[in-house]
């Protein structure tokens, strides 16, 4: 779960990281109220779940109230990479002397948490990695030993010249690692970490991604899920144990297993179609899940046909058949449905579908099913 800047800052503050005063607002009126408690100049920052908002004009400095309101008005409602800005963070500006990058990330290759710092702060770290890799300094933490203070100092001295400030920065690196661990994060990043002209440190922008698998032990973070930007169908699907991702195409997909579900999208594309979604009904699927899956797919008005591709292992074909029959009796299915059913209890499942008299088109291979679903979608 990716936290927006304002939520990321809220959780990092709990671990003692220095966050400037500020608040989030959804309207210009709210911005006006927040301004009463802040010192000028202030920064108005669009809160959106995509990068590149600075370049898109979503971050503006304001020197007085009138300017702040005018900027807030312009940012609220603007489009950034196709997403409408629904809220802004209003914070006090800092007088930047130096910008540093600091981040902790799960490194899949070494299977270690890695602490990274760079003197090239304030820019995309991937870009730095490409153009100036020598400017990035890393330390792979032994998760049993933890992140020792001396390692934090070694890293800090590589990016901060003033020794006193370097030591101050190093203690913040330890706090960032503690936040990463405590929050069950996959990424905890401060970019830029600013040293201001009076020698104070500020986490000016922050990004935290919390491991979805660990949310069960962080109910408080689950509550921070920003409903202004979430896809409601995806959340609804999750509640029922389905993995669903909405796409732009017109062939709805229902598949068991994530790998096969991706491969099904790919094969639809290969034969000239366009998948409307990724949907994994999961392993031990019960009929109710299948019904729910149909409901979610059919909510998308772009869907012109549905392809159900099942390879029964733990999933039993008769359960899928039962769910489909129920779905058809509970709702109006206006689009053609192609089904490819193979594996555990295949014969029973096929028989049930046949006897139900439902208007299903059957296919015996994955490719055949994809071709038929595309043809039917095109009418």
């Amino acid at each position: 779960m990716k936290l927006l800047e304002y939520s990321s800052k809220e959780v990092l503050k709990r671990y003692g990281l220095p966050i400037q005063p500020g608040e989030v607002a959804k309207t210009v009126e709210e911005v006006e109220k927040i301004l009463d408690n802040l010192k000028f100049p202030v920064v108005i920052k669009a809160q959106v779940p995509v990068g590149g908002r600075g370049k898109a004009g979503g971050v503006k400095l304001a020197h007085d109230k009138a300017e702040a309101l005018e900027k807030a008005k312009a940012i609220l409602g603007m489009q950034i990479k196709g997403i409408t800005v629904k809220k802004v963070l209003v914070t006090e500006a800092v007088d930047i002397d130096k910008e540093i990058y600091a981040g902790v990330v799960v490194d899949r290759r070494t299977k270690r948490p890695v602490v990274m710092v760079s003197s090239e702060g304030g820019v995309d770290i991937e870009e730095v990695a490409r153009t100036k890799p020598e400017a990035i300094h890393k330390y792979a933490v032994d998760p049993i030993l933890g992140f020792p203070a001396y390692k934090a100092r070694e890293l800090a001295f590589k990016v901060v010249d003033d020794p006193k400030l370097a030591i101050k920065f190093s203690s913040n690196l330890v706090k960032l690692y503690n936040a990463f661990l405590g929050l069950d994060a996959q990424l905890a990043e401060i970019n830029p970490f600013v040293i201001d002209k009076s020698g104070d440190l500020w986490a000016v922008d922050a990004k935290v991604i919390v491991d979805d698998n660990a949310l069960f032990r962080h109910p408080d973070i689950e509550k921070m899920r920003d409903m202004d930007y979430e896809n409601l169908e995806e959340l609804e699907a999750k509640k029922y144990g389905l993995s669903f991702v909405a796409l732009d195409g017109y062939v709805g997909c229902m598949v068991n297993g994530a790998g096969l579900a991706m491969a099904t999208m790919d094969i639809i594309k290969k034969y000239g179609g366009d998948p409307a979604n990724f949907l994994d009904v999961g392993g031990s699927s019960n009929p109710e899940k299948v019904t729910k899956a149909m409901e979610i797919i059919l909510k998308d008005e772009n869907v012109k046909s549905i392809y159900v591709n099942i390879f029964g292992g733990i999933t039993r074909c008769d359960d899928i058949a039962k769910g489909l029959i129920e779905a058809f009796s509970n709702m109006e299915v206006k689009v053609p449905v192609v089904i490819r059913l193979t594996g555990t209890n295949e014969e029973l499942g096929k028989k049930m579908l046949e006897e139900s008299g439902l208007p299903l088109v059957t296919a015996s291979t994955m490719a055949e099913g994809a071709r038929k679903a595309i043809e039917l979608a095109k009418g």
């Binding site: 799960v106 660990a214 790998g259 491969a263 790919d266 390879f311």
Partner: protein, 290 residues
């Protein structure tokens, strides 16, 4: 021969009294796997289908002489179960459980490195040496013994591809589902090393997907050191960036982990990548000159 599991593998099931644990214990035994007992803390002294249940892994290993364990323990407790298995001295741990927190796994893999225990998974269907043993939830009937090693990050997609292999007369030496999580015990490269030394394995099928760089690392290894034919498949060519596609590890982050870069790496290593699952068997036949 084959790798990792066979007739001599003596298996304990952790979480044997649970719904999934007891169900799959039955199926594993029907397949011929030598399951010697199970562990559920607090239920020691009882039995499941005539198998003894123990409170701790140490006791279970001592009493049964088991050398492998399969884990069906729920996610919040699974990391602890893996460490308990390693501490009790089994050589191979297969974690089926989906949804183990990544930070828990970081500690687990570090602990296992020290113990010298091999882990398959988590979030995987397990592994099978046809006609000898299956540790996990794979449907036994689609596998057939033969010369092809299979390593896959997926479950049902593996079944899809294996069923084509079997239908084309390409049986399997051992097939392993390594799991769909970002942090897993054994990666492609770890198992390629075992297949390299296995005389029965004549060729290998790799089934990858978006996210991470394990396929690229495997391609590098194949290019420099692996001397048997390899065919690959990559799922997720049409997946959008920054979206988790079911598996926790199947996510394109920033510009890395795309299907495109994985296919490119395989092609550069002389490994053909099938355009759809059914094509894997065809490409492999060509490679083997059959």
């Amino acid at each position: 021969m084959s790798i990792l599991v066979g007739k001599d593998t003596k298996v304990l099931v952790q979480g044997i009294t649970g719904r999934d644990g007891s169900f799959h214990t039955k199926l594993m035994r029907e397949y011929g796997t030598n399951v010697v007992g199970g562990v559920t803390p607090g239920k020691g002294g009882t039995t499941v289908d005539g198998l003894p249940v123990f409170n701790t892994m140490h006791e279970a290993v001592e009493k049964t002489g088991a050398n492998a364990s399969v884990i069906f323990v729920p996610a919040p407790f699974a990391a602890d179960a893996i460490m308990e298995a390693a501490d009790a001295g089994v050589e191979l741990v297969v974690a089926i459980t989906e949804g183990i927190p990544v930070n828990d796994m970081l500690r687990v893999v570090r602990f296992l490195e020290e113990k010298g225990t091999r882990l398959i998974g988590p979030n995987c269907p397990g592994l099978i040496t046809p006609d000898e043993a299956k540790l996990g939830i794979l449907p036994g009937q689609i596998f057939k013994r033969g010369p092809v090693g299979v390593i896959s990050r997926s479950g049902t997609l593996t079944y899809e591809i294996v069923s084509h292999l079997t239908a084309n007369g390409l049986g399997q030496s051992t097939a392993i589902g390594i799991g769909g999580d970002p942090i897993i015990g054994s990666k492609f490269i770890d198992l390629l090393k075992l297949f390299k030394d296995d005389p029965e394995t004549e060729a290998v099928v790799l089934i990858g997907e978006i996210g991470g760089t394990d396929e690229q690392d495997a391609a590098e290894y194949i290019k420099s050191e692996f001397n048997k034919p390899v065919v690959a498949f990559i799922a997720g060519r049409t997946a959008p960036p920054e979206k988790r596609m079911g598996h926790a590890g199947a996510i394109i982050s920033g510009s890395s982990g795309t299907a495109e870069e994985k296919i490119k790496a395989f092609n550069a290593a002389g490994v053909p990548v099938a355009a759809e699952p059914a094509e894997v068997a065809t490409l492999l036949k060509e490679k083997l000159g059959k």
